[in-house]
Amino acid sequence: MTLHLTNARLIDPEALTDATGSLTIDNGVIVAINAAAPKSATLLDCGGMCLAPGIVDWGVKIGEPGERHRESFRSAGLAAAAGGVTTIVARPDTSPAIDTPETLEFVTRRAAESVVRIRHMAALTKGRLGDEMTEIGFLRDAGAVAFTDVFHVSTNTKALARALSYARSLGALIVCHPQEPGLSAGAAATNSKFASLRGLPGVSPMAERIGLDRDLGLIEMTGARYHADQITTARSLPALERAKANGLDVTAGVSIHHLTLNELDVGDYRTFFKMTPPLRSEDDRLAMVQAVADGLIDVIASFHTPADEESKRLPFEEAASGAVGLQTLLPAAMRLYHAGAVSLPQLFRALALNPAKRLGLPQGRLGEGAPADLVLFDPDAPFLLDRFTLKSKSKNTPFDGQRMEGKVLATWVGGTQVFQAD
C-alpha cells in the first residue's frame, strides 16, 4: 500500500531543514520526498503540521522481567506511540538484569507485544555489579545494541577496563553513567542553597565531572566506543568537548527533564521531581540546552522510569528516583523550541537521528530508503497535562498539571499507523 502525505512541514534532521513538502511511503519505507503522488496512493493532507522521523528514545526502563505492574512492553509501546516515539531502546536494569543471552531472548520475545520497535541494551557486567563482564559477544549476536550497567557505577576500575578492552574487539558500544559514586553516595539533590535549606543531602556537580574524567581516561586507554548516558552539569562540558576534539569515539546524552526543569522545581519535597542524577541549577540547565543546540550533546532521551505511587509517596530521601517520559518527551522538547533555543531539525537530530546513528539503526532519517517511522505533530497545540491520561502503567510525571505545547497527531512505525489522536 502506498501512502502519500502532502502539505506537511518536513523536519529533516540530516539536512537541518524545515520546509513544506510531501512524502511518499511504500512498503514500510520512505520512497520519495516532494514527488508527485503515485496513482494508486492513498492521500493524506497533513494540514501544514510537522512531519518528522519518529523519536528513538534511548534508555527506557520497562518493568519486564520483574516489575510488570510498573510497566509492560504493551503499555510502554502504547505510551511511546502516543508520544511519537517509534523506537524504544530499553534498559537492562530489570530484575533479574538482562545479562545473559537467555534473558535477552526472553525480553525480545515479550517485546513483540509493543506497537513500536523495541531494541535492547544488555548489562555490561553480570548482575550489573561491575565485577565480571557479561558474554558481550553472544549478547551482541542475540541483538543487544549497546552494553550498560545503567546507574550502577563500577568502582572496580580494573574490571571495567577489561570489559571495555574486550568490547572494543567486538566494536560494541558501551554506555556509562558518569558519576563518582563515593561523592554522590546518599545524595537526593544537588548541592545548593535550596537543597541545604530543605535539609536534603546533596551531591556536588563535580561528582559528574570526576566520573566523566575517569571514563574518558579509560576510553583513551582501551579505545572502546563510549556514550555518556547523561551529561547534566556545565562543568562536564569542557572535558566532553576535549575528548571529542581529540578524536575519541565518544558521544553524550541528556534527559529531557534536565533540559526543562531545575532543582527549584522540587519545591515542597515533590518526589515526582526526584531524578538520577538530581535536577541541577538553572545555569546548568541553560548550559545543557546550549550544548544540545551546538551539537556537543548528541542525544536527548526521556530516561522513562516508571515508579508506582507507593514508592513515590514517601519522604523525599526515601522515595524512588526517576520519572515516566515516553509520552511527554515531545511536548516537553517543544518548550526548548518555543523558547527559541533550539530549532525543530536540531531537536530531531538529538531525538531521532543521532541515537539511531550511534546505535547502528536505520531509523531517524527523513530520506528516501529510510524506514517509514514517522511522527506527525502540531508544535503549537496547547494542553494541560493530566497524569491520569497517560498510557503508561505508572503516572509519575513531573509535568502533571502543567501547561504544555505540542501534540502528537499520528505515529507510523514501518509505514503502519500505530497512533491517531482523538
Partner: protein
C-alpha cells in the same frame, strides 16, 4: 494580631508579623507557667497526639506539658518502636491516626520534609517538632523569645551561630527567623560542617571562632550531631573543642554582655565548656527550656483558634 497558618511546618512559612504574634502570646504564657496553678482551658476538649519517629525526651516533654497546661487531651506515641517496624508507611500511620480525629498532631521525623508530606494527608493542625535537617520551628521561636527577653529586642542584633550547622535543623530555622527579623547573622564552623551553598545564605561566614565572635550580642552554640554524621567531618572531639568549643576565653571576644545559648542536649567539653554553660550571668540555656513550654503553648493556642474558625466556616458552608 496576625496568625494565618494552618500548620506550623517551618519558620519559612511565617511572616515577621506572625512571629511577633507568637512571641507576644508566649510572653503571657510565661507568666501563667510561673504561677503555682498553671491551668488554662483554651485547648479543652481538643486531642493532641505527639508522634515521635525519632527519640526525644526534652521536646516531647515540653509539648506534652504545653498541651496539658492548656487543657488538651494529650497522647504520646513512640512510633519509633511500633508500627514502623512492622513495615507500615508514614502515610498509613498518619491516615490511621487521622481516623482517630485528633486536633493537633505534633510530629518529629528523621527525614527532611516528612512532616510536610504528613500534613498534606491529614485534616488537623500539624506542628513540626523537627524533621531531618530541615526545620525545628518551635526551637527557633523559643530562641527568639529568650533573646527578646534577655536583650529587650529580637532585631538588629549580631547573632553568631556556631558549630555543626550542616546537620542542624535548629540552625536552619534560626537563621531563617533571625533573618526575617533583620538581625546580622554570622555562621562559625569548620568548612566540613558548613552546609553546601552557604555562601548564598546572606550570612557572614567564619572558620575562625575568635574573629566570628567579635562584637556578637548573642552566641548560639549547636550540638555536634554525631548521629547524623557518616564519618570524618572533624579529626577528633578534642581538636574540635580546642578550635570551636566555647569557653570563657573565646567568649571574651564577644560583647561583654553577650548571652550564650544552646538548644540542648549539650556535649560538655565538646562544643561548650561545662562551667560556662552553668554561668547564670552569661548562659540562658535554662531560660530556653522554660521559654520552650510557653512558645509551644502559644503555637498550639493559635493553631487551635484557626482550626476552630476553619471548622466553623465549613459547618455553615462558607467557602474556605
Amino acid at each position: 494580631m496576625t496568625f494565618r497558618a494552618r500548620h506550623l511546618l517551618g519558620i519559612e512559612q511565617l511572616s515577621p508579623d506572625e512571629i511577633v504574634t507568637v512571641l507576644d502570646l508566649a510572653d503571657r504564657y510565661v507568666d501563667l507557667n510561673r504561677r503555682t496553678v498553671k491551668q488554662s482551658d483554651v485547648l479543652a476538649g481538643l486531642t493532641q497526639i505527639n508522634m515521635f519517629f525519632e527519640n526525644s525526651t526534652r521536646t516531647q516533654a515540653s509539648f506534652e506539658l504545653a498541651g496539658k497546661r492548656l487543657g488538651a487531651d494529650v497522647m504520646n506515641m513512640s512510633v519509633a518502636q511500633s508500627s514502623v517496624k512492622k513495615g507500615e508507611t508514614l502515610i498509613d500511620t498518619a491516615m490511621t491516626l487521622n481516623a482517630m480525629r485528633p486536633d493537633l498532631l505534633v510530629v518529629r521525623h528523621p527525614s527532611s520534609g516528612a512532616v510536610n508530606l504528613l500534613a498534606s494527608k491529614v485534616n488537623c493542625a500539624v506542628l513540626n517538632a523537627g524533621d531531618g535537617r530541615h526545620e525545628h520551628p518551635t526551637q527557633a521561636l523559643l530562641d527568639a523569645l529568650t533573646i527578646r527577653r534577655a536583650k529587650g529586642r529580637a532585631q538588629r542584633l549580631t547573632v553568631a551561630i556556631c558549630g555543626d550547622i550542616a546537620h542542624s535543623r535548629v540552625a536552619r530555622s534560626n537563621l531563617i527567623l533571625l533573618g526575617k527579623m533583620e538581625n546580622r547573622l554570622r555562621l562559625i564552623a569548620p568548612p566540613t560542617l558548613m552546609p553546601p551553598g552557604v555562601e548564598d545564605f546572606g550570612c557572614e561566614l567564619y572558620d575562625d571562632m575568635e574573629k566570628g565572635l567579635e562584637g556578637a550580642d548573642v552566641v548560639m552554640m549547636l550540638r555536634l550531631q554525631k548521629e547524623r554524621m557518616d564519618g570524618g567531618f572533624i579529626p577528633s572531639e578534642r581538636e574540635y573543642y580546642h578550635r570551636y568549643g566555647l569557653d570563657a576565653e573565646k567568649l571574651s571576644f564577644a560583647k561583654p554582655d553577650a548571652i550564650v545559648m544552646h538548644p540542648g542536649p549539650m556535649n560538655r567539653g565538646v562544643e561548650i565548656d561545662g562551667e560556662l554553660a552553668d554561668d547564670i550571668n552569661r548562659s540562658v540555656i535554662q531560660e530556653q527550656v522554660e521559654m520552650g513550654v510557653a512558645v509551644r503553648m502559644a503555637c498550639m493556642d493559635l493553631l487551635a483558634r484557626n482550626l476552630r474558625a476553619e471548622r466553623g466556616r465549613a459547618a455553615v458552608g462558607v467557602m474556605v
